[in-house]
Each structure stands twice: as structure tokens, then as C-alpha cells.
Assembly symmetry: C2
Homo-oligomer: 107 residues x 2
């Protein structure tokens, strides 16, 4: 098992890619939540599967995180920000969940 050192490039085999997506996505959300909890900070994570499913994790509420993103963008606008044209981000959730939420797409 774990035959090779897992080269980081697109997995060509579809089935293997889907399995890896499922496993690593869960690991990534876990890590995001751990970072948020351990360090008492805001984290927002948005992941799209190739089949169109949406996964997101807000540490507080997505709204709060993205609002801070917007404000921060404004504040640093005159400084060393590498990309300037960041614009408004508005996003809110009825229930700011503390756990990863899966939103199923139509297909």
C-alpha cells in the first residue's frame, strides 16, 4: 500500500481520482476546522467537486469570514497588495454551522 510518494499532479484514472477526492476533501476540512479551533481564528473553505457538488466550511459564519475578507481588502488597498481589484464579497447563512456542510447539486 501507498506504493509511491504520491506525486502531486492530476490523477488520470477517474475512479482513483474520485476516491482520492473524497478522502482528501474530508482531511482538508478536518485540518481547516482544527486550525480554526486551535488558533481561535476564522477560516473559510470552498471546494467544488468535478461533478458539481459544493462543499464549504465556515469557521464562524461564511458571512463573517468573507466580510472580514472584504474589509481587509479595502484596508490594504493602498499598500503592498499584489492584486488590487478585489471587490465586494457578500455571503450569509441562515444558520452559521460549526461543522462542514455538504450542499448537494442538482445532478
Amino acid at each position: 500500500m501507498v506504493r509511491q510518494k504520491t506525486q502531486i499532479r492530476k490523477i488520470e484514472n477517474l475512479a482513483a481520482r474520485q476516491v482520492t477526492f473524497s478522502k482528501r476533501r474530508r482531511g482538508l476540512f478536518k485540518k481547516a476546522q482544527e486550525l480554526s479551533t486551535l488558533c481561535d481564528i476564522d477560516v473559510a473553505l470552498i471546494v467544488f467537486s468535478a461533478t458539481g457538488k459544493l462543499f464549504h466550511y465556515p469557521s464562524s459564519s461564511m458571512n463573517q469570514v468573507l466580510e472580514r475578507h472584504r474589509l481587509q481588502s479595502e484596508n490594504v488597498g493602498e499598500l503592498q497588495q499584489p492584486s488590487r481589484e478585489m471587490q465586494v464579497i457578500v455571503c450569509s447563512f441562515a444558520s452559521p454551522s460549526q461543522l462542514p456542510v455538504t450542499v448537494a447539486a442538482k445532478n
Copy 2:
């Protein structure tokens, strides 16, 4: 070293929390990029440090990822979406960077 099983709760010691933040943040961004590359998908990651610094990673461009987030929200609005009031997300970058970008805050 690694004396304990790293309980996932806020690290009370400030210095230790900052060190952990630095290490785990880098790990998280790496994982996000790996997932994006391996599975050929879009990932958006936004992290705020306690001191106000902003870190984000867009797999393609933050704009593209968040636009898909917006569209997906609309599409699934009538289905089993657990939180309905997700609203518009607008965000664009002049240069859609492929690598994590650090935007320093004013302080």
C-alpha cells in the same frame, strides 16, 4: 517531542498558538493546493490570523471559485440545501495567482 495527542481546542499560550498557526496554516494551504491539483477541481481557502493578516488560496481565480459558489447556491436553492440565505458573492483578482498569496494588513 509531540508529548500529547494534540487535543483540538484553543491553545492558551500565545507564543505556542502563533507557532502552531504558522505551521498548520502552511500545511493547510499545501493540502488545499494538492487537492486542487490531484483532483483537477476548484478550491478557495481564506484564513485570518488573530493579528489581522489575511491569507488566501484560489485554485483558479478567487473570482471563478466564488462565482461558481454563487451559481451553485442559486441552483440548489429549491433542494435540500441546509442553509438557504446564501447570497451573492462577488470577488475578482487582477492576477489570478496559482500560489498562495499573503496580503499584509495595516498593523
